[in-house]
């Protein structure tokens, strides 16, 4: 709890935490939506925000507010799936490579570097085209996860490498601790803060990719996400027709989400890094 209090002293953490909580509530609200998000024409088109429709309606006859709740929910689901699955891969690869060393390390790092070096964006776009018809939230999350682990695997590996040289490792090995137990019980706590901060970065990246894929017309337009909402608004010329509520809703939500995630990751990593933590304290 003291940790949380310390974190809250940073205005960036406070802001991002609040924003994320609000967005989470918005996402949960989608369970109470009176409208099915894949149905069109359940409301009069192009209405300005009013008490019956908080954020107005769009040109497909849907209530923008309730669409937004689904959009936030789906975007968060995609990013969480992408983030966690890629964490799991990164942890496995990083830990095994860091601990085993030698050939295993070389091979794993080679694979990871290859992922770093490829023009990931292009390959993701190609694959998205391939599976477009079968694209749903989970598939998209998995697709993004498959490409998002490489950088963090390396980071975790260096952490493990430094931990391996420490005294307690020798002690544990000498006292007969099995490898797995050592890794899980001893190393993981050290690596957790790191993992958490990279998780947040990865989530932001996943949402960014999702929006980009939607803009390029490569995702399933029936599923409301921040990206597809924006793409529908653009293809219906919302900007030039003046339907600002339809266009601004996904944009503002996306900006808030990104800024919140970014500030969260920055404030947490600054907190974790002892040098910057001291600087913060000194600066106050």
């Amino acid at each position: 709890m003291r940790v949380l209090r310390d974190l809250f002293e940073d205005y960036r953490f406070a802001f991002s935490f609040t924003v994320l909580c609000l967005l989470l509530i918005l996402a949960l609200l989608s369970a109470f939506s009176p409208y099915d998000p894949t149905f069109w024409w359940h409301a009069t088109r192009d209405l300005i925000p009013s008490w019956t429709h908080f954020l107005g309606t769009n040109s497909k006859g849907q209530d923008v507010f309730w669409q937004a709740t689904y959009a936030v929910r789906n975007s968060l689901i995609i990013s969480v799936i992408a983030g966690t699955v890629s964490r799991v891969i990164a942890i496995l690869v990083g830990m095994v490579a860091g601990y085993r060393g030698r050939l295993t390390d070389r091979v794993l790092m080679f694979v990871s570097d290859s992922f770093l070096v490829m023009p990931l964006f292009l390959i993701i776009v190609l694959l998205a085209m391939l599976v477009r018809e079968h694209m749903n939230l989970v598939n998209l999350g998995l697709l993004l996860a498959f490409f998002g682990w490489a950088w963090d695997a390396r980071v975790i590996r260096s952490q493990i490498l430094s931990l391996r040289e420490r005294e307690f490792t020798q002690t544990a090995i000498l006292s007969g601790t099995k490898t797995m137990r050592l890794v899980m019980k001893e190393y993981l706590p050290f690596a957790t803060p790191l993992i958490f901060s990279t998780l947040i970065n990865n989530m932001a990246w996943a949402i960014g990719m999702e929006i980009t894929l939607a803009i390029l017309g490569l995702s399933n337009m029936d599923i409301p996400t921040l990206g597809t909402m924006l793409q529908w608004a653009i293809s219906y010329q919302a900007l030039l027709l003046g339907w600002w509520w339809w266009l601004l809703t996904p944009i503002v939500l996306a900006i808030f989400l990104f800024v919140a995630l970014y500030w969260l990751s920055v404030s947490i990593s600054e907190y974790l890094d002892p040098r910057t933590r001291i600087q913060r304290v000194g600066a106050r």
Binding site: R12, R106, F110, D113, S114, V117, M118, P119, F121, L122, I123, V125, L126, L127, M129, L130, E133, A204, G208, I211, T212, I215, L216, G217, L230, I234, L239, I251, A254, I255, F258, V259, L261, Y262, W263, V266, R275, T276, Q279, A283
Partner: protein, 335 residues
């Protein structure tokens, strides 16, 4: 010798392997799409209601299959493909038949390279300068103000930013042209008119990339400089009375540059893949537009050509950094 074996050789092997794997992946992926380029072409010929006599379509399909090089099994096509690649021939574009892929790339590359080269370099220089100074004077008001601005600008979705710039400066305030690399009817020539024309058309796309690039570089540099600033040798220099200008340039920034050089090289390597959205929003005639068009029309050869070149560029950039880095960072030489 030991240096070569432990440092250079593994990296070189990795370089070759990655290129091979990458190009293989790019060869096979488009071939698994359900859309058949031959039928696409026929559909295009038939679209808008123009009439292809149904009896003659069968023969056409045969002809097209042959001309596109889609005959034979996947492995045969794969083998033939590698044979051609070593001569720099990526085959012929399907959709823009019969133009060779290399010609198309050659035409579009200067636009993308020009735009991204300038944008990357400018944002790198400006970002590092501002970041370095801000990092050194970390407590000053302007430094913190800039940091907050960067904090808000950096995570902004690029597409939205680019689109807003477009509408703002071509419609609301009519300062810049909407589309293209040059004016209509302008022939390429080495005179001031042409250059001014190109600059005018490139301004908005470059601006959109520079603003975001500066925000990112600024933050990274600031952090690095702050860390270096806290190092012992800098404190010692300050206590020792070394002139501030000298500390900033020779002690702090010089050491902070190392990781930034790596980043620059990486960014330059990303040129080929980085321009997709920019070029789509601003209708810029570069590789990004070409690639997007190729993906949408299922033009395997063109996709392969561009992606293969992209892989080549990035891996080469990284190999280059790895080869040159020891010159900058003596610590690596001691390995």
């Amino acid at each position: 010798m030991r240096f070569v074996r432990r440092y250079l050789l593994p990296r070189f092997i990795q370089y070759v392997l990655v290129i091979f794997l990458g190009i293989t992946a790019v060869f096979f992926i488009p071939r698994f799409t359900p859309s058949d380029p031959v039928q696409r072409t026929i559909a295009e010929l038939q679209s808008h209601g123009s009439y292809l006599d149904p009896g003659s379509i069968d023969e056409m399909v045969e002809d097209l299959r042959e001309m596109y090089g889609l005959e034979g099994s996947m492995l045969e096509q794969y083998g033939a493909f590698w044979k051609r690649v070593f001569t720099g021939d990526f085959g012929v574009s399907f959709f823009q038949f019969p133009t060779p892929v290399m010609d198309l790339i050659r035409m579009s590359l200067p636009w993308t390279a020009g735009l991204l080269l300038w944008a990357t370099l400018l944002s790198w220089i400006v970002g590092n300068l501002l970041g370095g100074l801000a990092g050194y004077y970390a407590r000053s008001r302007w430094s913190r103000a800039l940091d907050t601005v960067a904090m808000v600008v950096r995570p902004m979705p690029y597409y939205i930013f680019a689109l807003s710039l477009l509408i703002l400066f071509t419609y609301v305030v009519r300062l810049f042209p909407i589309a293209g690399g040059t004016d209509i009817g302008r022939k390429a020539a080495f005179n001031w008119k042409f250059i001014a024309d190109v600059l005018r058309h490139a301004f908005l796309p470059a601006l959109s990339m520079i603003v975001l690039g500066v925000a990112t570089t600024f933050q990274t540099m600031k952090l690095i400089v702050q860390n270096v600033n806290a190092e012992d040798f800098v404190q010692y220099a300050k206590l020792g009375g070394v002139k501030e200008r000298r500390i900033v340039s020779r002690y702090v920034i010089r050491n902070a540059m190392l990781p930034q050089i790596t980043n620059l090289a990486l960014a330059l390597g990303q040129i080929l893949s980085g321009a997709l959205i920019t070029e789509i929003v601003f209708s810029y005639p570069g590789l990004g537009s070409l690639l997007f068009n190729a993906i949408v029309t299922g033009d395997y050869n063109l996709i392969m050509g561009i992606t293969a070149l992209s892989i080549l560029a990035i891996t080469s950039a990284i190999l280059l950094i790895d080869l040159v880095y020891p010159l900058f960072d003596p610590r690596v030489r001691l390995m």
